[in-house]
């Protein structure tokens, strides 16, 4: 009985305040979409880190005929220099840091290059002897790149030592920046949402002051008087959170795993199921914020 009564009160409150309720829904929707987007970016970063960090290698590029760096003053790498590098890679001082290594000849490099840029006209203008041969090293601990770099970059016949990880780091930094920006926007929007919920609840309490006055007089408990107002705010915010979750799911399903994954075949995108992990967080966040701000508003504006 009491539950039915409270539900009825909520219904009439929502109906009477419809335009304000809709604005609460929309503001929480937008703000939580930003929160969720920041979360998705972080998940994407982790996913890509997990995927790429296993695959990234440290490459020791060897001199070829067209090399210009100081280490290559004597021209292309000689067989002797190459053997020397292999010996160093096999030495215990270096071996402890690496899992394994492969030699990529100029022919291999050319083949990979052609695969990678198969759609680009640049393939036609590149010849095999323009590309460097290299040692590809899989590190035990990618953080120890510095040791390899110091050991090998000054050796004769080595043009440069490059860490693919650094290229990725730059991408991740950029993505991180984007997610921080999304969080800042989300923060401002959440602040707006809280203010709007506060105003809505105040308005609702004011428009129903007759009812609440009578409820007080006939001895209704604090819960029965306040709960409809609190739930009104919570329901509006939760609807906003559900809309936000739905939007993020659509983005993951049709954009990330649709268009984008076809364009970037080698990039592991987060799946739409992973996005569903964010949904309960958004709903709890929206509902919680609305509940707390409604409660604080009522303590000030609804005498019990």
């Amino acid at each position: 009985m009491r539950l039915a009564f409270i539900l009825g009160e909520i219904g009439s409150g929502l109906r009477r305040n419809l335009s304000m309720v809709i604005s609460v829904v929309l503001v929480t929707f937008v703000s939580l979409t930003f929160v969720g987007a920041a979360g998705m970016l972080q998940m994407q970063i982790n996913q890509m880190k997990g995927y790429w960090y296993d695959k990234v290698q440290v490459a020791i590029f060897l001199c070829n005929d067209s090399s210009t760096s100081t280490g290559c003053a004597s021209g292309a790498v000689t067989k002797e220099q190459q053997d020397n590098l292999v010996k160093m890679l096999e030495s215990p001082a270096v071996k402890q840091y690496i899992n394994d290594y492969q030699f990529e000849s100029q022919a291999d490099a050319f083949k990979h290059f052609k695969e990678q840029f198969s759609n680009s006209p640049i393939v036609d203008s590149v010849t095999q002897d323009q590309l460097p041969s290299s040692f590809r090293i899989n590190m035990k601990d990618p953080q120890k790149y510095q040791i390899i770099s110091e050991t090998f970059s000054s050796q004769a016949g080595v043009e440069t030592v490059s860490d693919q990880r650094q290229v990725l780091e730059r991408i991740f930094e950029w993505m991180n920046g984007a997610s921080v920006a999304a969080m800042v926007v989300a923060g401002v929007m959440i602040f707006c949402a809280v203010l709007l919920i506060t105003t809505t609840i105040r308005l609702s309490a004011f428009s129903r002051r007759r009812e609440t006055g009578i409820m007080r007089l006939v001895g209704a408990s604090k819960t029965v008087i306040q709960l409809p107002f609190i739930l009104e705010g919570v329901i509006a915010a939760v609807v906003g959170a559900v809309l936000a979750s739905g939007t993020l799911w659509l983005v993951a399903q049709f954009w990330l795993n649709g268009d984008l994954s076809q364009q970037f075949l080698n990039t592991p995108f987060i799946s739409s199921t992973q996005v569903l992990v964010i949904a309960p967080v958004l709903i709890a966040l929206g509902g919680g914020l609305a509940g707390i701000s409604s409660l604080l508003t009522l303590r000030r504006y609804l005498k019990v």
């Binding site: 009985m1 009491r2 009564f5 007759r210 009812e211 006055g213 009578i214 409820m215 007080r216 007089l217 006939v218 001895g219 209704a220 408990s221 604090k222 029965v224 008087i225």
Partner: protein
């Protein structure tokens, strides 16, 4: 049922107290008129019983319990034992008669079947049978006040407080309302009614408590609106002082 022990209520420390050391006891089942000019402390008296306000000093006992010792979460329980009626009825305009009365039961969690059984009974007591489906704006002032009374007593409170319940009504309608209140009193409910309406007080011949500037200046059984006993002693001094104050106030108005 209601006991005031040396109760003082000060709203503004610069002004005189709204109630000044009031001692009063109202027994179970009694019908008491609270009379006095506006600002004499009648409403404050009622508010203290409901714990809407806290006494500055002294104690207010309702049903044997000192209201100062009732914690805020138990105040609703206190108020369930007290019905209240106002001059301006305070009905919910978008609810019909039945729903207005039922509202008082719904909000304290009474079951639908009990509501369906009790509300018509109470409406019969106040003389509104057959008008369950009317909206408040379709009723006369007297009928609206009857709905308000029905709402106040539907949960069978031990006490009914009425704050100028006939203030907006013509004399004949007022007498009808008094009949309803009397009937409720006959059923054992303690009734305290604040009023200016001398005709009603004179007609009913019940206990009259007269307040003047926050002080009880008269407490008489089966009395009239104005005293038949000459005012003497301390009361006399107070009466003169307050008369002088009233004259002054009227002088200022003119």
């Amino acid at each position: 049922m209601i006991r005031f022990e040396n109760v003082t209520k000060v709203y503004d420390t610069n002004a005189r107290p709204a109630l000044d050391a009031v001692n009063l006891e109202i027994d179970r089942g009694e019908f008491t008129f609270l009379v006095g000019a506006s600002g004499s402390g009648k409403s404050t008296f009622l508010r203290l019983i409901l714990k809407e306000d806290r006494a500055t000093s002294g104690s207010v006992y309702v049903a044997g319990q000192n209201v100062a010792n009732i914690s805020s979460w138990r105040v609703p329980k206190l108020r369930r034992g007290i019905g209240v009626v106002f001059q301006d009825f305070r009905l919910l305009p978008q609810k019909n008669v039945f729903a207005n009365v039922a509202f008082a039961m719904q909000v304290i969690g009474k079951s639908r079947s009990i509501i369906r059984e009790t509300v018509p009974e109470v409406l019969k007591t106040v003389g509104l049978e057959g008008k369950e489906r009317r909206m408040p704006h379709e009723l006369s002032g007297g009928e609206q006040q009857r709905v308000a009374i029905a709402r106040a007593v539907v949960n069978r409170p031990g006490i009914l407080l009425a704050d100028e319940p006939t203030g907006n009504l013509d004399p004949i309608t007022s007498m009808g309302i008094m009949g309803v209140l009397d009937k409720i009193n006959q059923n054992g409910t303690t009734v305290v009614m604040a009023t200016h309406d001398d005709d009603i007080v004179n007609e009913m011949r019940k206990r009259v408590v007269e307040l003047r500037n926050g002080v009880v200046v008269r407490d008489e059984a089966r009395a009239l609106y104005t005293s038949m006993i000459p005012v003497v002693g301390e009361s006399r001094r107070m009466k003169d002082a307050s008369d002088a104050e009233i004259d002054r106030a009227q002088g200022v108005q003119q």
